[in-house]
């Protein structure tokens, strides 16, 4: 136990207080310099100066888009309007991503503080946190935090005796992934169906109640107080040339240390998976890591050493997304994985535009045909052509990125698609003649008695009866069972 804090790969900015302070006690937050960034901002900085700090920090949207936050603030700030709004997008919806929830549950004040600072910078006096109704604990803690911030005068009129006033309200989502898209989110905030609208006009010009509106995601906001206090130079020193700071990833799937990690931009996936994540469960073979959720793609062994940032991850065929990172091992079927994501997107499509409403459905159906062994080689062409069109012509980000899981896996694992298309994929288990020692263990565990063979003789699986339960695979002491 000599070194408790070792030279670590992780560096936590957004998660700096998570797990270290009591989220329901504002004093715990104040103790770690909470609201100091706000005090400094209001006492010493002009709105322009705040925007400049954020711009110079080169902080980019952590919700996945990667748009420079300072520029977004500036665009909203320069609009003339009697009212403007700050919205925090806490409608985290990627299956397999939960960093925003963790921040809101562990450090809600950092988001509130950042929203007040943003309000001051762009000239808004009202903010909303749009949060998933499925996050009751986060909602509770935010509500408590807002109350406490009000009682300390951090929300309300004349904050820190400046003339600046700001109020904050929670708005609940109701289970629609598409509401992560900012125009859909704004519609939802107004009590409407969460259908996106065409951009332009951008929310910075016409957003909530048709007023200039700035929407940032939870993790983006959580970076702001640190940037204000420590300065843009400090932030610029972390990360890569075009992506500064850190990124939180939700590490899950076939990995030993499932959890949240925050690493400087530019960390390699190998470090994340093997050093922080502790490698693959049961020491199986790594196959790919899926990033960016339903908008992203897969990254394979050959790119594990690429330093990850917004650009590089796109260059190797995936997306940063909100930071879901699902590790897949040799057992995972990539066509099934794309089917899983397409099932998700076609279900979450708002139904407004043709390519997404019908296109994602047809993409899913083609994948279903393939995995049901009812597809054909022509289906592969159709799949690629349609995927490209859905990407090209959908109205919003959901549709435009929905085909990514297909395009990426078909690029990397075409042979798996072909096995389905040419119907050469085996769906049952088999026994490797060279390895079988005739121990009979497999035939004894088989629930449908489809394995036959004499003791010390090579055993055979009757494929017609095999239900692919995998019992034999687990029972075999010599690895002689071949998986489907």
């Amino acid at each position: 136990m000599d070194t408790v804090v070792k030279d670590t790969l992780q560096y936590r900015i957004a998660l700096r207080n998570c797990g270290l302070i009591n989220p329901e006690n504002i004093d715990d937050y104040i103790a770690v310099k909470g609201y100091e960034a706000l005090a400094v901002t209001l006492e010493q900085y002009t709105p322009k100066k705040v925007i400049n700090i954020v711009k110079e920090s080169h902080l980019r949207g952590r919700g996945g888009g990667g748009f420079p936050t300072g520029i977004k603030w500036e665009l909203t700030a320069r609009e003339q309007s009697d009212e403007k709004y700050i919205i925090c997008n806490a409608d985290e919806g990627d299956p397999g991503a939960f960093m925003d929830r963790s921040i809101l549950e562990g450090d809600p004040h950092s988001v509130i503080e950042a929203m007040i600072i943003a309000g001051y910078a762009i000239g808004a006096s009202k903010g909303y946190v749009y949060i998933r109704a499925e996050y009751p604990l986060a909602i509770d803690r935010l509500e408590t935090a807002i109350k406490q911030a009000k009682s300390y005068g951090f929300l309300g009129n004349n904050i820190f005796d400046s003339n600046f006033s700001f109020d904050l309200e929670l708005k609940l989502g109701a289970g629609a992934f598409v509401c992560g898209e900012e125009t859909a989110l704004i519609n939802s905030l107004q009590g409407l169906r969460g259908e996106p609208t065409k951009k332009p006009p951008f929310p910075s010009v016409s957003g909530f109640r048709q007023k200039p509106t700035n929407v940032n995601n939870v993790e983006t906001f959580a970076n702001i107080p640190a940037i204000i206090l420590k300065g843009s130079d400090w932030f610029n020193a972390i990360g890569t040339d075009h992506s500064k700071g850190t990124k939180v990833f939700a590490l899950a799937g076939k990995i030993n240390n499932v959890g949240l990690v925050e690493v400087p931009m530019g960390t390699t996936l190998r470090d994340i998976i093997y050093e922080i994540g502790g490698g693959i469960v049961d020491d199986k073979q790594f196959k790919a890591v899926q990033t960016g959720g339903p908008s992203g793609g897969v990254i394979t062994e050959e790119n594990l050493d690429t330093p990850i940032d917004y650009e590089s991850i796109r260059n190797i065929g995936s997306m940063m997304g909100s930071g879901g990172m699902i590790v897949l091992d040799e057992d995972d079927d990539m066509v099934e994985i794309s089917k899983f994501f397409l099932d998700f997107t076609q279900d979450e499509s708002c139904g407004k535009c043709t390519p997404c409403r019908i296109g994602t459905k047809r993409l899913y159906e083609i994948l279903e045909r393939l995995t049901n062994m009812e597809g054909s080689p022509e289906d592969l062409d159709l799949l690629e052509e349609l995927a490209q069109n859905v990407k090209d012509s959908s109205l919003c980000g959901l549709g435009q990125s929905a085909p990514n899981p297909i395009l990426s896996t078909i690029d990397r694992f075409r042979e798996e698609y072909e096995a389905y298309a040419y119907r050469t994929k085996r769906t049952t288990y088999a026994i490797d003649d060279n390895k079988c020692i005739g121990c009979t263990k497999c035939s004894r565990v088989c629930p449908v008695d489809c394995i036959t063979g004499e003791v010390k003789q090579v055993h055979v699986i009757n494929e017609a009866n095999c239900i692919a339960c995998g019992a034999c695979y687990n029972a075999c002491p010599v690895d002689a069972i071949i998986k489907p």
């Binding site: 065409k198 708002c350 390519p355």
Partner: protein, 580 residues
């Protein structure tokens, strides 16, 4: 700077600031197909949901394709409308729509007038690459007026825009999401169970056969073939200025005489004019107005000719049912008189007479079926056909409409004045009533018959007409959204009008839900309106109370206008409804 420099397919051009890419391409002589787009800018209605993705084009430096109908041009924009990427996307998206569409073109009401069908032809679709699940919703035949087949819906949302934003009826909304998304009433109720006014504006803008008027043509053919019935037909004022469009005639062509001849050839026994009913309506309505002014009755008085509007107030403002005039509409007045006075004249029992109405309207179908618009269990009107359905009958009969000689309406219920003609346009009913009310109130002959201040196409208009020592304050609204504004003002005590005219459809009956499709071309509405005023100008008598046959009807049969018998036959009542 009001102009911008852009490039379209490599060619530089100068265009006006504020126009869309679609308009810019159009100016460059390039046609880009559209589907969901609908531009009724002069009514303030633009459907820019950009949802069909048929009109996509490529814009330089833009990662994805862009819907040309909703994208504004900017300085230095490079538009590529003919790139393979754009062309493929359009075809691909259309194929997707078709892969979820019933292939019933041959028997579809919209056969050859369907925008989706034309698009399939235009984009040369011969095979559809995709197969899969199709929508499978029940067809809604519940109402007397509108048939809704959700399986033909392409989610263009035009109907929703009309129903919610323009008409503020709010019956239709997108329901569910993803592939299951559909435009429907709440809880997917049948139309009959909703507060639908049957104004038919959804039908008028639906690009496919998802929303159509109920087809009553077969029933009419059947009755015509049955010689036991005496078939009476009447034609509304707005039909005669629009029907010609279905036969290649210019918008605004007046085809009254041809219509009469066509109806005779189709086998009708008597061809009457709804305009006669319009004059009759004014006789009653002008007196009701004078009565309400002189006796301190409820003011303002609202006109009641438009059945969609009547349904609107019943469901949306059920506590205000004392404001509309109790006068029946012209079509039902003609029906009531045909089955009583006329029946006596031709010595036939009422039940042997069948009345068919040719109307620019979808709601008139539902109006005819209202139980209170009947006498002795016989509906005043038995069948109502839209202008479009009538046009189809003429075509079916092989009649060369353009070549028909002019005919005259049959006597008794055939004569009409210019005041009746203008019932077909917004402002017309109230102008007609004013002409008569003026003479009723002052006893002096009206010199300036044309009340220009009541005309036009603005959504809400108001005017004050001096009649003797009374300043008669008049309000006019067309489109139910505008009507709502007026009603809310009245409710809030903010409006001090004496009389208000409301028509449910934009432009009035000339823009009715049953008229030949104008596909949002405002010049067509304007031409129809001009024709209406031309008819008025060229009619020898221009005040309803000068209609000799109407006067004779009172003398022979009804007694005093607004009297007891007139009340029995020509007035009605309203029923409170729910807003669903």
């Amino acid at each position: 700077m009001n102009t911008l420099n852009i490039h379209v397919n490599g060619r530089p051009m100068m265009v006006k600031k504020g126009i869309t890419v679609l308009e810019a391409c159009h100016q460059a002589g390039i046609k880009i197909p559209t589907l969901c787009h609908l531009n009724l800018e002069e009514y303030g209605i633009v459907n820019k949901v950009a949802s069909c993705r048929i009109c996509v084009v490529e814009i330089e430096n833009r990662a994805t394709l862009v819907p040309s109908c909703a994208e504004k041009v900017y300085e230095g924009m490079h538009i590529k409308s003919d790139s393979l990427r754009a062309i493929n996307a359009r075809r691909n998206n259309l194929e997707l729509l078709l892969s979820n569409h019933p292939f019933e073109c041959l028997t579809c009401t919209k056969n050859l007038t369907c925008e989706l069908q034309s698009l399939a032809e235009e984009l040369n679709i011969r095979d559809i690459s995709f197969t899969g699940k199709k929508m499978d919703y029940p067809i809604d035949h519940s109402s007397e007026a509108i048939v809704k087949d959700p399986n033909k819906c392409v989610m263009c949302r035009r109907c929703e825009t009309m129903c919610n934003d323009v008409q503020t009826v709010g019956v239709l909304s997108g329901l569910r999401r993803g592939f299951d998304a559909v435009v429907a009433p709440a809880f997917n109720l049948d139309m009959l169970e909703t507060s639908c006014t049957y104004c038919g504006q959804c039908v008028a803008v639906c690009p496919t056969g998802a929303l159509t008027e109920r087809n009553d043509v077969p029933r009419v053919w059947k009755r015509l073939s049955n010689k036991n019935y005496h078939m009476v037909v009447q034609v509304a004022p707005a039909v005669r200025v629009a029907l010609g469009e279905m036969f290649g005639m210019a918008p605004g062509s007046i085809s009254t005489g041809k219509i009469v001849t066509a109806l005779r050839r189709l086998g009708f026994d008597a061809v009457f004019d709804t305009n006669f009913g319009a004059d009759l309506t004014i006789m009653e309505e002008a007196r009701e107005l004078v009565h309400r002014i002189e006796e301190g009755g409820t003011l303002p008085m609202l006109t009641s000719c438009c059945p969609a509007w009547v349904k609107f107030i019943e469901h949306q403002f059920p506590d205000m049912l004392d404001v509309p005039s109790t006068c029946k509409s012209p079509q039902t007045m003609v029906g009531a008189i045909a089955k009583t006075y006329y029946a006596e004249k031709v010595n036939l029992p009422s039940k042997q007479i069948k009345v068919v109405s040719i109307m620019p309207c979808v709601a008139k179908k539902a109006e005819s079926a209202r139980p209170e618009l009947s006498k002795e269990n016989l509906h005043h009107v038995d069948y109502t056909l839209s202008t479009r359905e009538f046009g189809h009958m003429i075509k079916e009969a092989g009649i060369e409409f353009e070549a028909l000689p002019d005919g005259d309406f049959d006597n008794i219920l055939g004569e009409s004045t210019g005041a009746a003609a203008i019932f077909g346009t917004t402002g017309g009913v109230i102008e007609a009533a004013t002409r008569t009310a003026y003479e009723l109130l002052t006893g002096d002959p009206l010199e300036h018959i044309d009340f220009e201040e009541l005309r036009g196409l603005e959504g809400v208009r108001e005017a004050t007409v001096t009649i003797g020592d009374l300043d008669l304050k008049i309000g006019i609204a067309h489109g139910l959204g505008n009507a709502r504004k007026l009603l809310e003002d009245i409710k809030a005590g903010k409006a001090d009008y004496h009389a208000i005219e409301i028509m449910a459809c934009p432009g009035g009956c000339i823009g009715g839900g049953g008229q030949p499709y104008h596909h949002g071309d405002m010049s067509i509405i304007k031409a129809r309106q001009k024709a209406i005023y031309d008819i008025d100008k060229n009619t020898p008598r221009r005040k309803s109370h000068e209609n000799e046959m109407v006067l004779k009807l009172y003398q022979d049969y009804l007694g005093d206008p607004y009297g007891e018998k007139a009340h029995d036959l020509l007035h009605t009542c309203y029923t409170k409804g729910e807003r669903i």
